[in-house]
C-alpha cells in the first residue's frame, strides 16, 4: 500500500473546466523546501493597505451612499427651511448669529451618523464577512484603526462641506450681521468633528454589541433618552440630576458649538467652548478600548 505522503509536488496539474490563464507553477525545483511557493510577490502590508480595503468596502455599498445622502439632505434641507421660516416671520434678525439655525438639521443628521457608524462594523458580523476580514488581516487593532480612520474622515469631510454650504446660504437668505470667523469655524469644523467622534462612538458600540439593530438602538437611546427622562423628573429632590442630564445630553452639547449657554443653576457652569468635543473624545476612547479588547479576545 502506498502512502501518498512521499509523493511530493508533481508538475502537470490540469485545472478545472473554467481554467483561465495558465497558472504559474510556483515551486522552485531543487530549492529544498517542500510544498508550494506562490509566484505572487509577498510585500509586507501596513495600515495603508487595510485603509484601502475599508475605503473599498464603504464606497462599494449603496446603503452607505444613501445614508450619507440623507445626512446631507437633512442638514441642507432643514437648515434652509428654518432660515426661510425665520425670514418670513421676522423682519429683523438683528445681532443674532444666523448659523445657529443649522442646529436642527445637524441634530437630525446625528441619526445617520449613528446608523452608518454602527453598520460599518456590525454589518460584517451580520453577514459573516468579519471572518473573511480577520483572516485577511489578523491584526484586530489594524482592522479597527482602518475602519475608524476611513469612516470618521468620510463623515468629517461630508459634514464640513455640507454645513459650510448651508451656513453660506443661511447668511445669504437672512440679511443679518455676518458671523465672525470663530462662529464660522465652530459651526462647521467644530460640529463636524463632534459628528465624526459621535460616529466613532457608534462604531465602537457596534463592535461591542455586534448586532446592528441593537447597537443602533443603544446609540439613539444615548442621544435622546437623557432629554426624555429629564422631562419626567419632576420631583424636587431630583433637580440636580435633571439639570445635569439636560446639560450633558448630546443635543445640548451639540448646541454649545452654536454658542448656546447650557449652564443651569444647580449644575453650575456647563461645558462651553470646545469642551463638548473633549468630553465626547474621552467617552469614545473608553468605548474604543473596549471594542478593541472585545475584537481581540472574543470568538468571532
Amino acid at each position: 500500500m502506498t502512502t501518498p505522503y512521499q509523493q511530493g509536488p508533481r508538475p502537470g496539474y490540469q485545472q478545472g473546466p473554467h481554467s483561465g490563464p495558465p497558472q504559474p507553477h510556483g515551486h522552485a525545483p531543487g530549492d529544498g523546501s517542500f510544498g508550494y511557493t506562490s509566484p505572487i510577490p509577498a510585500r509586507p502590508t501596513h495600515l495603508g493597505d487595510a485603509v484601502a480595503s475599508e475605503w473599498t468596502k464603504i464606497r462599494s455599498v449603496r446603503s452607505t451612499m444613501w445614508t450619507l445622502g440623507v445626512m446631507v439632505a437633512l442638514i441642507l434641507g432643514i437648515g434652509l427651511l428654518t432660515a426661510a421660516a425665520v425670514a418670513a416671520t421676522s423682519d429683523d434678525v438683528g445681532n443674532e448669529n444666523v448659523l445657529i439655525l443649522g442646529f436642527f438639521g445637524v441634530l437630525l443628521a446625528t441619526m445617520c451618523v449613528i446608523t452608518l457608524g454602527v453598520l460599518v462594523i456590525s454589518s460584517e458580523y451580520g453577514t459573516g464577512l468579519i471572518r473573511s476580514t480577520l483572516t485577511a488581516c489578523p491584526s484586530r487593532g489594524r482592522v479597527l484603526a482602518a475602519k475608524s480612520l476611513v469612516f470618521s474622515l468620510v463623515v468629517f469631510v461630508v459634514s464640513t462641506v455640507t454645513t459650510l454650504v448651508t451656513g453660506a446660504l443661511q447668511v445669504a437668505v437672512l440679511d443679518g450681521r455676518s458671523p465672525t470667523g470663530e462662529e464660522w469655524f465652530r459651526s462647521t469644523v467644530g460640529v463636524s468633528l463632534y459628528l465624526a467622534v459621535l460616529g466613532l462612538l457608534s462604531l465602537a458600540v457596534g463592535g461591542l454589541i455586534r448586532h446592528s439593530a441593537g447597537a443602533i438602538t443603544v446609540m439613539i437611546g444615548l442621544v435622546l433618552l437623557p432629554l426624555v427622562m429629564a422631562m419626567f423628573m419632576l420631583s424636587e429632590s431630583l433637580t440636580w440630576l435633571r439639570e445635569a442630564m439636560f446639560t450633558y445630553s448630546i443635543p445640548a452639547q451639540l448646541s454649545v458649538f452654536y454658542g448656546s449657554d447650557v449652564s443651569l443653576d444647580s449644575v453650575g457652569s456647563g461645558p462651553r467652548g470646545w469642551e463638548p468635543l473633549w468630553i465626547m473624545l474621552v467617552v469614545t476612547a473608553v468605548a474604543m478600548v473596549g471594542a478593541y479588547f472585545s475584537l481581540d479576545r472574543r470568538d468571532v
Binding site: Y13, G16, G26, H27, T127, D299
Partner: protein
C-alpha cells in the same frame, strides 16, 4: 503544513473540541471528517485564529496565525459561502480582500475566471445562488495563490458539474505541492478526493490514517450466497467447516471464503444457486460505526433508533453516484 497540538475548546461545560492533535501535510488532500456537530468548523475557526482555543495551539508553517503578515498568501479558506456583503459585487468583495494583502487587482480577474464567475463579476452577490456563492468563496480562498487551502464543506450547494470541478481542483492543488484541508460529513465524498483522513467525533480524534489504510481496515468483504435449497447449502458448508451468517431474505453471508470455492462446493453437491457474489461493506457504514457513539443529533425514526443501520451491507446507496464502487475496491 498545519500543526495542531492539544487543541481544546470549551463552551461553558460543553467540550466542543477535545485535545485534538494532528498534522496536515503538503502534497495531499487531507479529509476532515465527522458527523454534524463533531467540532469540524470550530476546529477550522481556531486554525484561522477566529476562535480562541481554551488550550492548545495551531501553527501555520511554524507560525501562529497572527504572526503572518499577509495571511492570504499563505493560507486561503472557504468557511461559509455567504460570508460576503450582498450589496457588493463579486469583484468588489474580492477587491477588499486583495487590497488588504497587497494582491494585484489582475489576480481578481484571474480567480474569477478560474471559478467561472467572470460574467457575473460586476453583479451584486445578493442575487447569487448557493453554488455561485460557494464559487465566490473558493475564489477568495484562491486569491492569494496560497500554499495552504482550507475548505469547509465545499461541495454544499454545488451541482454535479460543480462537485466534479471542485474535486479536480482540490486534487490539482495538492498535486502542485499545496496543503489541502477539506472538511465533510460525507464519507463517500472523501473517498473520492482525500488521500489522508482525519476523523473526529464529539471533538475527539477517532482516526488519523491514510485513505487507503482506512479502506483496507474498515471495509469488511464477504461472499453473498442465495439458494432455494438453503438447508442443504448449510449442511454442505458445515461439512466443509465454513461458517455462514444468515442474512435477510434467505441470504447467507460468508466471511473470508472466495466465491470460487463456494461455487465449486455447491457444484460438487449438486445444489442450485440463485446468487453468488463478492461483497464489500460500504465506507459510509464503516464511518458511521466509528462515529456511532459520538453522533450528537440522532434522528429517531426507525425501530433501531437511527445511528448506524443494522442492515445494508454493500447497499448501493452509498458512494455509488460517481464510481464509488471502484474506490471501494481500492483497498482489496
Amino acid at each position: 503544513m498545519i500543526e495542531v497540538t492539544g487543541l481544546t475548546k470549551r463552551y461553558g461545560r460543553k467540550v466542543a473540541v477535545n485535545d485534538l492533535s494532528f498534522t496536515v501535510r503538503p502534497g495531499v488532500v487531507t479529509g476532515f471528517l465527522g458527523p454534524n456537530g463533531a467540532g469540524k468548523s470550530t476546529t477550522m475557526r481556531m486554525m484561522l485564529d477566529l476562535d480562541n482555543p481554551t488550550s492548545g495551539s495551531v501553527k501555520i508553517d511554524g507560525k501562529h496565525y497572527r504572526e503572518l503578515s499577509e495571511p492570504l498568501k499563505h493560507i486561503g479558506a472557504l468557511l461559509e459561502a455567504k460570508a460576503m456583503h450582498g450589496g457588493r459585487s463579486a469583484y468588489n468583495n474580492l477587491l477588499c480582500l486583495a487590497q488588504s494583502n497587497r494582491i494585484p487587482a489582475s489576480r481578481i480577474t484571474e480567480v474569477l475566471d478560474m471559478v467561472g464567475l467572470t460574467s457575473v463579476a460586476k453583479g451584486k452577490s445578493k442575487g447569487f445562488s448557493m453554488g455561485m456563492g460557494q464559487r465566490l468563496g473558493i475564489a477568495s480562498a484562491l486569491l492569494g495563490d496560497p500554499e495552504i487551502l482550507m475548505f469547509d464543506e465545499p461541495v454544499n450547494g454545488l451541482d454535479p458539474e460543480g462537485i466534479h470541478w471542485i474535486r479536480n481542483l482540490m486534487k490539482g492543488l495538492a498535486t502542485e505541492g499545496r496543503t489541502v484541508f477539506v472538511s465533510s460529513h460525507l464519507m463517500s465524498e472523501m473517498a473520492l478526493t482525500a488521500d489522508h483522513l482525519i476523523v473526529i467525533g464529539q471533538g475527539r480524534l477517532l482516526a488519523n490514517t491514510s485513505m487507503a489504510d482506512f479502506i483496507h481496515e474498515n471495509s469488511r468483504s464477504f461472499t453473498r450466497l442465495r439458494s432455494p435449497d438453503r438447508e442443504r447449502v448449510k449442511d454442505a458448508l458445515d461439512e466443509a467447516g465454513i461458517t455462514a451468517v444468515e442474512g435477510t431474505g434467505g441470504v447467507l453471508e460468508i466471511d473470508g471464503v472466495e466465491p470460487e470455492r463456494l461455487g465449486e462446493l455447491a457444484a460438487r453437491h449438486g445444489i442450485v444457486l440463485h446468487e453468488l457474489s463478492s461483497q464489500r461493506a460500504s465506507l459510509e457504514e464503516a464511518f458511521m460505526r466509528m462515529t456511532a457513539e459520538s453522533v450528537e443529533y440522532h434522528a429517531h425514526t426507525g425501530p433501531d433508533g437511527g445511528g448506524a443501520p443494522a442492515t445494508g451491507w454493500g447497499s448501493p446507496g452509498w458512494g455509488t453516484p460517481a464510481g464509488g464502487g471502484n474506490d471501494q475496491g481500492k483497498g482489496a
